[in-house]
Structure formats: structure tokens, C-alpha cells
């Protein structure tokens, strides 16, 4: 287990590193000029432009810039801007080009929003999706099963942002049945936290749930045809125990894989949901930083997203080994 974790953490680090290099390279391949953007595209005196560029460290060779970034990440670095020295402790993600705030602090404000949003939605999506999927699998071939499969197919073939936007418009504005989205840290007021997130949870969770109905239905239909299910029935177990104990445990394995990757993906970019429900999460930050060519913020969000992704993968592997004894972690 320790060996497994050590190996996985090493490979995770290399994935994160490669992601950072790629992001950094992409940024400079694109025709971006943050200094010009800050200075104002027109009427920018050459001298001022050079100053800004120097202040941002953009005058350095690209390799040096990247090395400095990694150094800051690992041991911290000192920024000198206009004769003012600023100590940035490890893990230093630099300062936003746009508003000069530490990126770490900006991420620190945004990550809890996204994590709250995704955690709630993920629970809804997995539990409701798998429950409905298993029920459909148990009744496969009946009219109810067909209605369910067709309706999930319809919902998941409409682009998510349209469904989400429609629900937000109709249920929170035209017919305000559900509270509008808003963000209150759970440490301030847990009731307001729930109230502000309940609509986004339902929308993100239930719309994505439709895919889980289909994944788990497919997986369960396959499992219910297995010989060991017949054995379980031959023992005299009830239909419910056979379906929800014997079949579900096997049927969940492929669903867990997709779930881990989905959750990581949602953490990295629940952009539509955050935008529609006006939540100050990571997705919104990504959008803002891209518009502003804000390299340190872009790098910071990419870093956080890739950490989410590799962590999710490790967790999926561990959960696998808990469900399936044939999977050994070493």
C-alpha cells in the first residue's frame, strides 16, 4: 500500500509538471502580451511598457521564467517591483498580473466554492443515478425502463448550458420556486450556504445524473446476467438483496471509474454552472484570467485542476481495491 502510494504520488507529480510546462508553452505560443494589456493597447509609452514588462518578469528568457516559477512553487521567491521587495513563501504561485493579489489567496477563496458545488452535485448524481439505473436494470425491457432510458437520453443530448440556463430562468426567476444561486462560506452561516447552493446542486447533479442512469443500467444489466447472480438467487435470497447487494457491488466498478474522472473534470471546470448561478468559483476565475492574459492565475488554476485530476485517479484506484479483492495495490 505504501509502495503503491509512493509510486502513484511520483507519477502524479510528473503529470502535474508536464501539465504546467504545456500550459506555460501554450501561453507564449499564443499571441498574448500581458504587459500591453495592462498598459492599455493604445497610447502606451514605450518606456512604461518596458517597465511593466520588467516588473512582471516577462523580460527574462522564457526558460528562466519557468524555472523561477517552479522555484517559487518549491521554496518561495522574492519579487522586486519598482524597488519594493515582496517575499512570496512556498508554495508561491506569484501575483496576478491584473490586480496584483497573490494567486494562492485568490485560489484559496475560489476552491471552497467549487468544491462545495461539485461535492453536493456529485452525491446527487451518483446516488440518484445509480439507484434509478439499477431499478431500470431490474425491470429491463418493460415500458417503464424504456421511458426512463429514452428520457435520460433526451436530457443528456441537449447541451448542458441550455438545460441549466432554462431551469435557472424558469425555476428561480420566472417562477421562483427554488432559491437563486449565491455563495456564503459554510463557516459563516451553514443555512445560507445550503440555500445558495441547493439550486446549482440540483441542476448540476440531476442533469449529469442522466448519464449515470445509463452507465449503471448497462453495467447492472450485464451483472444481473452473471452466473453468480443465479447462485445468489438459488440460495433463496430475496430479489432486493440480490440486486442491491450482490449485483450492485460488481455493477458499480465501471461506474466508479467514470465517476472519479467526472468529479475531477467538474472541479476543474464547472464553468457553466458557476456562470449561470453567479458563484465565485474556480471556473469563473479561469474565464477571467484567460480574458486578461493573467499568466500566474492561469498557471495557478491549471495546477489546482491537474492536482484534482491525479488525486481523483488515485482515489479511484484505492476505492477499486476496496471493492474488488482481485485488484491488489502493490
Amino acid at each position: 500500500m505504501l509502495y503503491f502510494l509512493g509510486r502513484r504520488i511520483l507519477s502524479a507529480l510528473s503529470v502535474v509538471l508536464v501539465t504546467l510546462v504545456a500550459t506555460f508553452a501554450l501561453f507564449f505560443i499564443a499571441p498574448t502580451d500581458p504587459a500591453a494589456a495592462i498598459c492599455g493597447e493604445r497610447n502606451c509609452p514605450q518606456q512604461r511598457y518596458e517597465e511593466i514588462k520588467k516588473g512582471l518578469g516577462l523580460d527574462q528568457p522564457k526558460v528562466k521564467q519557468f524555472a523561477d516559477y517552479l522555484e517559487g512553487l518549491a521554496v518561495g521567491r522574492t519579487y522586486i517591483n519598482g524597488g519594493v521587495e515582496r517575499e512570496c513563501k512556498a508554495p508561491c504561485l506569484g501575483y496576478s498580473f491584473k490586480n496584483d493579489r497573490p494567486v494562492l489567496e485568490m485560489l484559496g477563496n475560489r476552491v471552497p466554492v467549487t468544491v462545495s458545488l461539485v461535492a453536493g452535485a456529485a452525491i446527487i448524481m451518483l446516488t440518484v443515478g445509480v439507484t434509478i439505473g439499477s431499478m431500470a436494470a431490474k425491470r429491463r425491457g418493460t415500458a417503464g425502463d424504456r421511458v426512463l432510458v429514452t428520457s435520460t437520453l433526451v436530457i443528456s443530448s441537449i447541451p448542458y448550458y441550455i438545460v441549466a440556463l432554462m431551469i435557472a430562468l424558469y425555476l428561480t426567476i420566472f417562477y421562483p420556486i427554488l432559491p437563486r444561486g449565491s455563495w456564503t462560506p459554510p463557516t459563516d452561516n451553514i443555512g445560507k450556504w445550503v440555500a445558495g447552493l441547493v439550486t446549482p446542486w440540483l441542476v448540476l447533479g440531476l442533469v449529469n445524473m442522466t448519464q449515470y442512469v445509463r452507465y449503471s443500467r448497462g453495467s447492472m444489466v450485464e451483472t444481473l446476467n452473471e452466473d453468480f447472480i443465479r447462485t445468489a438467487r438459488a440460495k433463496g435470497l430475496s430479489d432486493r438483496v440480490v440486486t442491491y447487494k450482490h449485483a450492485l457491488r460488481s455493477g458499480l466498478i465501471p461506474v466508479i471509474t467514470i465517476f472519479g474522472l467526472d468529479v475531477a473534470g467538474m472541479l476543474a471546470g464547472a464553468i457553466f454552472t458557476e456562470r449561470i448561478f453567479d458563484l465565485p468559483g474556480l471556473g469563473n476565475l479561469v474565464l477571467e484570467s484567460l480574458v486578461n492574459f493573467d499568466l500566474p492565475v492561469i498557471m495557478g488554476t491549471v495546477l489546482v485542476s491537474s492536482i484534482f485530476l491525479v488525486t481523483a485517479n488515485v482515489i479511484v484506484d484505492i476505492v477499486y481495491s476496496l471493492i474488488d479483492p482481485r485488484v491488489r495495490l502493490s
Binding site: 452473471e226 452466473d227 453468480f228 443465479r230 447462485t231 445468489a232 438467487r233 438459488a234 440460495k235 433463496g236 435470497l237 430475496s238 430479489d239 450482490h246 457491488r249 460488481s250 471493492i323 474488488d324 479483492p325 482481485r326
Partner: protein
Amino acid sequence: MTTPAPEDRKDTMAESAAEQPAAPADAKRGPSVATRERRSGLMNPSGETPYLVVEDLTVKFPTADGVVSAVNGLSYSVPLGRTLSIVGESGSGKSVSSMAVMGLHDRKRTQITGSIRLGGDELVGMPESDLMKVRGDAMAMVFQDPQSSLHPLYTVGNQISEAYRVHHKVSKDVAKKRSLEMLDLVGIPNPIRRFKQYPHEFSGGMRQRAMIAMGLVNDPKLIIADEPTTALDVTVQAQILDLLNNLQKEFGSAIVLITHDLGVVAEMADDVLVMYAGRCVEYGTATDVLANPRMPYTWGLLESIPTVSAASEKLRPIKGLPPSLLNLPSGCSFNPRCPYKDRVKGERCTTELPELLPVDGAGAHTSRCHLHDKASIYEAEVLPRLG
């Protein structure tokens, strides 16, 4: 389930025997009372009181392509302490009929008619909630492939204990103790360690032993073993068969052994029922059926066994394929493959389904064939080929 005491059972059986309609006065229009009883499975080749009685069992699966008639009017009976072997090719209905006895078919997709009585209780049409209590308790099934028939994600001990706890309200510890006993009984060394292991940590033979331990944990009176040795190699096969034999001697259960291996039949069976296209084509004691078979299909099965002395010879399969169960041939289902059908006068083989009749006019050995001189054909032509 509360199993009636043997005396009660006998009474029930006697009653249902009495309820049989009397034979029609005109003997030509119907078989005699004795034949009827035999066909209905009330009597069995040994003449003992049966524990399991299957009578005129029909299993049909309606599909998009039509109705699949997997079992057509099957009757047999098995007394306690006796082993009935059901023999036939794949698709002959041997597994389907046994699954019907266990009530394992999807009710919505299967039409079952006829009667299956276990110790006097009618299982056909029994509500699922009642059938659940019988399944795994009074009757248990040992499946073909222990690799896929055991749940890969639960320990072997857990699965055996679960089978016990379904039918006994006991603590986990009591169930564990019982499971360890069973593991020991079926000859699994070091039960305490094995209890905690998963099926993939067992060898094929050990897995089948574990499967048997699971099936027998509730001391069932009827054990249905569906090709229990097919997935095992030959030396292990013999061990598993010995185990089943010994357990039967110890517990006196009735065993229905489904197989296509006539070697297994010779070793295990007291009675043999040969199935073809969902029908019984020959039924009798093992000695009768194996030593004096009276049906070309049984001859074909016997001829297809390779013999060591004839190692250089080619295998002699039964030519042709089993018929589609969607569309059975008219007359005798075996007629398209039967090498002897020209010896029956007229078109009887292709137009008239032969009755299951006693081979010597009165005995318990029955077969379904229009041939008149079955005994002489067997002795003159088939026997020399058997080597």
C-alpha cells in the same frame, strides 16, 4: 420450509396417485394405468416413494422470433437417497428443466405448466415469497462453473455463511462455525484460513468443493448438480463425484445430476433419463439404460464415447445438429438425425410422435421410439460397435 414427516409425505403421494384419472375402458385409445403412472412420474424405476415429482413439465420462452419450447411434457421422480442423471446434448432442456424445479427462471419471461412437487408441496405457481424459503433450504443447486458461479467480490466464507443465514436466524458466529464445518466436510484443508479467502484464491477443484459446501450448508433433501464436473480436469472430476456420492450416503438426499458425460452417469446414477429436444426419450435404471438402451439417440450417445482401445479410430459423433426449439420437427424430434428411421413402416417417424412406452411391455424402463425390433437391432448392430 417445514418438510412433512416421511409418513405424511407418503400419504400425500398416495392421495395424488388416487386422483389420477382411471384409464379409459378402451385400451387402444389410451395407455394403461401403469403406463400413465410411469409417464406421470409418480412411479419411478426403483418403485420407492419419490421426494421430487416432476409431472408433465413444460417450459416455454416467448421471444420475438416465436415461442421457444425448451421442455415439453417432462415427467420424472427421484426418491431420497437416489441419484437421477439427466443426460442430453446442449439445448436438450436438461438445465432448463432443472432451473424450473429451482424456480430460477424469470417469471415474466417464462411459461411453466405441469407440476413439480417437492415432498408433496407444489412448486409450480407457488408465490415467489414462499418459493424463496424452499430454494437453498430444502433444495439446493450446485452449478457448472464454480469460477463464474461464486461471487468474485465476497469471501468464500461470507458466501457460505450467507446461504446459511438466509434460512436460519443465527448470529454471524454461529453461521461461521457451521460454514467451517461444511468446508471441512467437503475436504477443504485448513478451513479457517480458506474461510477468509476469495474465490480467485481457490483452485478449480477447491472452488467446486466450496460451491458444494454452500449448496449443502442447509442440509437440503434435494440437490440439483448441473454439470458439476464439466469445468474441472479429470482427476479432480473423480474427487468431486466421490465427494457427492459420500455426502449423499451421509445425508440421504435425492440428487438430480445433469450431465452430458456418460462416464459420470455410469459412476453416479441410479436412474437415467435421456432428454432430446425438451422431451424424455428414454428413462430407466442406470443398468437398464446403459446396458440395454432402446432408443437410437441413446445408442448414438453411447457410440460417441471414445474408447481407449479404439484410439486410432475417428470419433463417432451423432450426425446432424439438435433441432431448433422454435420449430420442432414433426413426428419424432430425433427423426432428421435417426439412421434407423427407414426401418419403420410408412411415415410414422415423421408424422407421429412416439409415446414413452415400456420397452418390454411392463417394466419401468421406458423409451420413445417407433422401432419394433429395438432389442435385436441393439444387440446385432450397435453393441459390436461399442467395443
